[in-house]
């Protein structure tokens, strides 16, 4: 896939490289401060700064405080609607998840390439989305078996299943349950990766066609640039929607574990 559009490789943006040389080893793995780590830290710092607005804790909120409170209220409402009154117990995790994904998605979209920076989208990596999905899935398992014990397996037999169908339905439901962490992690990874590849490919078209001459630039580069503007807007939407989907599905899965249908 690389090198077709001249020197511009649309996959290069996903490469992980150490920012500083060095690092240390744990169990055969080199732990270095990579560009991925840098953007995770940026996500953390940006989110922390954003949350400071909510810490004013005034009875009559200002704009910033209201913005933070609308995020917390959004997650609160989602959890209460999907899980019930005790859903608020899971707000710390689901809120952290939603905000981390949202901020990482949006930070990765920032056009800092204009000033020579290299934006990196943390959530376009399967290792990150996979771990987050596994954590969500682990919470579902812990809550499910912790609350219901072996009765949790009744989740795989929907009400009103005819007796002869129970073994078959059980297997199907179990399979769909086990697929959840994969679909959860892959969805975010694929959505972010695809969007960023598309933007880079189109950007390559703009640069290469313009280098080939003004005519090519106007015929190929300009439509590509127009398309990029539209896709960038779409990508902002995708960034928000994917964070929402991840948090929503996590809360739905937790609902299964808490309420068993």
């Amino acid at each position: 896939m690389a090198a077709e559009s001249g020197k511009i490789d649309p996959m290069h943006q996903f490469e992980i490289a150490p920012v500083f040389p060095g690092g240390f080893e744990i169990a055969g793995q080199t732990i270095a401060f990579t560009n991925s780590a840098l953007w995770m830290l940026l996500t953390l710092v940006t989110l922390w700064v954003f949350m400071q607005g909510g810490m004013k804790r005034e009875l009559v909120p200002g704009r910033w405080q209201l913005m933070v409170e609308s995020f917390t209220g959004f997650i609160d409402d989602m959890l209460v609607a999907n899980i019930g009154a005790e859903g608020r117990k899971y707000a710390p995790y689901v809120f952290s998840l939603f905000m981390f994904i949202l901020f990482a998605n949006i930070l990765g979209l920032l056009p800092i390439g204009v000033v020579g920076g290299h934006p990196f989208t943390v959530t376009s990596h399967l290792t990150i989305t996979g771990i987050l999905a596994i954590v969500s899935f682990a919470i579902v398992l812990i809550v499910g078996f912790g609350r219901h014990g072996l009765h949790f397996f009744s989740l795989f037999v929907p009400h009103g299943t005819p007796l002869p169908m129970i073994p078959f339905i059980f297997l199907v439901e179990l399979l769909s349950f086990l697929v959840r962490p994969f679909s959860l992690g892959l969805r975010l990874f694929v959505a972010m990766t695809a969007g960023h590849i598309l933007l880079k490919v189109l950007a390559g078209f703009v640069i290469n066609s313009t280098n080939a001459g003004v005519g090519y630039g106007l015929m190929v580069g300009l439509p590509s640039l127009t398309l990029m503007v539209g896709i960038s807007a779409l990508e902002i939407l995708v960034a928000v929607v994917q964070a929402y989907v991840f948090a929503l599905l996590t809360s739905l899965y937790i609902n299964d574990a808490v309420n068993l249908h």
Partner: protein, 164 residues
């Protein structure tokens, strides 16, 4: 795809940094800051609900007070009317009694006066009789030589007066 190509060489580093950053987000933001923000929101919701409830209670209390006031006014009016009616009745009764007393007094006076008149009439009649007897005795003495005694004249005058 570097995400897949590099997975074996970078998963340790990715995991390490994700645990640090997401762990910090979870504990510092999710567990420590979020409940405070939720607390502020809940506090505000509670305050608004409390204020509305207080306003409703005050409204109900105002209605109650107005109702009490109306009832008190109605009671006062009824009491005033009762007092007026009683005073009127009492006045009428007193006036009646006084008129009755006055009537009795007047009747007594009348009877007294009538008795006095009757007595005076009687005394006047006896006086006239005495005068008439004297006059008749005188007249008889002057006109006739006959001598009449007082009882004779008396009898004659009484007879004449009774005839008149």
């Amino acid at each position: 795809m570097p995400q897949i190509d590099q997975i074996m060489s970078t998963y340790g580093s990715q995991f390490f940094w994700l645990v640090i950053t997401f762990g910090l987000i979870y504990f510092v933001i999710g567990r420590s800051m979020l409940p405070k923000i939720q607390g502020t929101v809940d506090l505000r919701k509670g305050k608004i609900a409390g204020d509305i409830a207080a306003a409703k209670a005050a409204h109900a209390r105002a209605d109650e007070i107005e109702e009490d006031y109306r009832q008190a006014q109605a009671r006062a009016r009824d009491a005033a009317m009762a007092i007026t009616a009683e005073a009127k009745a009492k006045g009428a009764r007193e006036a009646e009694a006084r008129v009755r007393d006055a009537d009795v007094g007047i009747a007594a006076h009348l009877a007294e006066a009538e008795a006095a008149i009757a007595a005076q009439q009687a005394s006047a009649l006896t006086e006239i009789e005495a005068v008439a007897v004297e006059a008749a005795q005188d007249i008889v003495a002057r006109l006739t030589p006959a001598k009449v005694t007082k009882p004779q004249v008396n009898r004659a005058v009484k007879g004449a007066l009774a005839d008149a």
